[in-house]
Amino acid sequence: MTETAIQGIITGVLMGMIYALIALGISIIFGVMNVVNFAHGDFVMFSMYLSYVLGTALVWDAVQTPLLTFPILLIFGLIVYYLIIDRTLRQLYVVQLAATVGLQIMMRAAALVIWRGQPRALQYSFIQGNFEIFGFQVLTSRFVAAVISLIFIAAVAYFMNKTWAGAAMRAASDDLDAATLMGVNYHRTYALTFALGSALTAIAGGLLMSFQQTDPVGGIRFGFLSWCVLALAGLGSIPGLIAAGAIVGVAESLQVTFFNPQGRLLAVYAIFILVLWLKPRGLFGRK
Amino acid sequence: MDTTSMLQVSNLTVQFGSLKAVNNVSFEIQRGEIFALIGPNGAGKTTAFNAISGLLFPQAGQIVFKGTDITKLMPHKRCKLGMARTFQVVRAFNYMTVEDVVRVGAYNRQGEDTVAAKVDQMIELCGLGEVRQRVCGDLGLATLRRVELARALATEPELLLLDESGAGLNTAELASFMDLLRKINREQNITLCIVEHLMQMVMGLSQRIVVLDSGEVIATGTPHEISNNQKVIEAYLGKRVTQC
């Protein structure tokens, strides 16, 4: 019983690091631009399919595929920004949200049409097997994925804090008018932010493909999980994001281990609702 | 209870994280007067305003409106008690027509059968007759300031809080806006509290002034006293002069 629980917690924490990485993308976009990309989870799903296609075609390992999918998602993010997001910035909030809901449906539908709704998985992986810590089994691929996620979270944090582009993003988030006056072109900054936030899903997608399969509806799940992480973490705190990722990952993993796997989102939803109720607006961040 | 007192703010403190945007501020607004709250950028004027109108809750202090403690009251209940406000950045409802916007405010005290008359009255008072069917998103700033004023007045307040409502208006627009405010104050006996940047408007309108700097009160008095106060000149006027 306890052993199963600890096993579940380990799996959950490792998984949670990937959720944190996905949520970081949302967090950057939401924090800087105050734009909600409802389709973010579907970006992950899309990245996973891309990883599958490239991994199969080039006989690459899943964790290698982000080398190609990252730039692809970066460009995809730019296209989406200029085609949709940039035009809805001054719209009514519902309409802005609805546009990205449209994008979400579009991507899911595209996956349904292209891959006939069938789950796909990669066969090749040089990260095989598992290792043991204190008698508990840890899947090597999950462990590697978690470590890589943490590295990228740290890298993005560094980028945001230490580079000029990062400073421009933060300036744009603090005061749009002032930032514009100081020569920050907010359209370009926003585009960069959106593209970066989107491209992070490429890494998450590649990592997920190393031990999971992908299916079109998975996007909704990833989206919800990562928004839940963000709700827990609030904006702007990297350690908070990692902790929140772990909590959500563990909740999901324990639900699957001990209760009905059908309701894998129930525990997460419970946390989400509790957070929404108990953490009023101030704690969501600066807004 | 002091019947001449409209609003009493005592020891108001509002904190954002470690920053004290408003620190231990006290002042009192008398019934019927035009009162001004001034100070340089970031002095905490708008924050104080938000606390008074209920859009944020202070960490410490008390706000008493007409003898009732309203410190923890929801904004809409404060409005029911007789308080209304406008916003620094105009927050009209862009997709609604002028008369519909005013109507939202008028419902505060009017039922379905009398609301239309109230709307007509307010639209006439604020000179919005020509644009009443227009959608707010199509209107210019000067008109929108009047729309905001009209919808606030439609709630039939006793105390009206005006947040930088002269900002962005040209000289002619400002003069007519000030006339309108004087008229409201005199004829409808509505107490006005204005937060202002524009010295022209403050000095021309107000009877008493409180000066804020970095969240604290640094001076209180009549326009004449304030303009000769050394502290104020240093903290506020002086800064502006050197800026230019």
Partner: protein, 338 residues
């Protein structure tokens, strides 16, 4: 502006449409497929019109329509199966239950100022959560379909609200649509309507005008969930079984799309959108099922839907209703009617 009189030229047009709708089944009696399509169009129009109150007026992106539809269907159906209670009564109990649950969720949600994306997420998660609950709850739901009792003829058929033709369902939905239209119209030109429209744009600004935004949103949510629950009760009878797949994210999304494409805050917008889009979807389903076997088909119509939603959001954020209105006015001046 006073509430427009119920009998002006516009509403006469509506009455004409209504009259056509009433006699429509007489001509289509034999064509069950078209009748089913018409019923589906009306069903979605009812849902989208109800959504218009919370989404179009109050500006809350509610993605939970299917949660209330599912609750209504399961309550009505279970009452029929277990207690032999007629759906004519059961649907109201189901609607009350849906409204009750919506209220229980809504009070803390609105109370703590949960809005915008957080509201959208929480409502969309609601659908998934109820599906999971009903999937696991074997006494009422479970992964296998539960069939409702059926009787082909006579009063028993009416008691069970189960018919071998779509005509009665068509009229039930039509009646619901008329009721929802009247509710919409009354709210739109009342204190609640003006307050909702304003708070949909700026909640703080409306609060300082003496509007209790939480209460207004809660009222909107209650009306909306009640109607959706009512529709759910009939929905179960139309399909003749209960299944957790009734809690469908796609249905919720479709309702939102119809609401936005039709025109937010416009009473008749969702009906127009439903007529065009739902028929189009069914047309695609019918004509392309041979070409694209399997799940790909579902993707195709979703893609078209999504494209329309994005295009409308970008270029016609007020929906197609204003376009139709302009066209109507042009037609009027063309015909020469004043």
């Amino acid at each position: 502006m006073k509430r427009p009189k119920l009998l002006n030229s516009k509403n006469i047009a509506i009455l004409v449409v209504l009259a056509i709708a009433i006699v429509l089944p007489l001509f289509l009696r034999t064509n069950q497929y078209v009748l089913f399509l018409a019923t589906t169009v009306l069903l979605y129009a009812v849902l989208a019109s109800a959504w218009n109150i919370i989404g179009g007026m109050a500006g809350q992106l509610d993605l939970g329509a299917a949660a209330y539809v599912g609750l209504g269907a399961f309550t009505t159906g279970t009452l029929l199966i277990r207690f032999n209670l007629t759906p004519w009564v059961g649907m109201f109990i189901g609607a009350l239950l849906a409204m009750g649950i919506a209220t229980l969720i809504g009070i803390p949600l609105f109370g703590f100022k949960v809005k915008e994306v957080w509201y959208a997420l929480s409502s969309s998660a609601l659908v998934e959560v109820f599906r999971a609950i009903f999937m696991m709850w074997n006494k009422v739901g479970g992964p296998t379909e539960r069939y409702l009792p059926f009787s082909a003829e006579g009063p028993r058929s009416w008691y069970l609200m189960r018919f071998n033709t779509y005509v009665p369902y068509f009229y039930i939905m039509l009646a619901l649509l008329v009721v929802v239209f009247i509710i919409n119209h009354r709210i739109r030109y009342s204190k609640l309507g003006y307050s909702l429209l304003a708070l949909g744009e700026d909640e703080d600004a409306v609060e300082v005008l003496g509007v209790d935004s939480r209460l207004c949103k809660l009222k909107a949510l209650m009306i909306y969930s009640f109607v959706a629950g009512l529709v759910g009760g009939v929905y179960g009878c139309i399909y003749g079984y209960l299944h957790p797949s009734f809690f469908s994210t796609d249905m919720s999304l479709e309702v939102v799309i119809l609401g936005i494409v039709g025109g937010m805050g416009v009473t008749y917008g969702p009906l127009l959108a439903a007529i065009f889009l739902v028929s189009f979807r069914e047309y695609l389903r019918a004509s392309l099922s041979g070409m694209f076997p399997g799940k790909g088909l579902e993707g195709l119509y979703l893609m078209v839907y999504a494209l329309i939603l994005i295009v409308v959001a970008l270029f016609q954020p007020r929906g197609i209703a204003p376009l139709i209105k302009r066209g109507f006015l042009k037609l009027k001046s063309f015909v020469g009617v004043k």
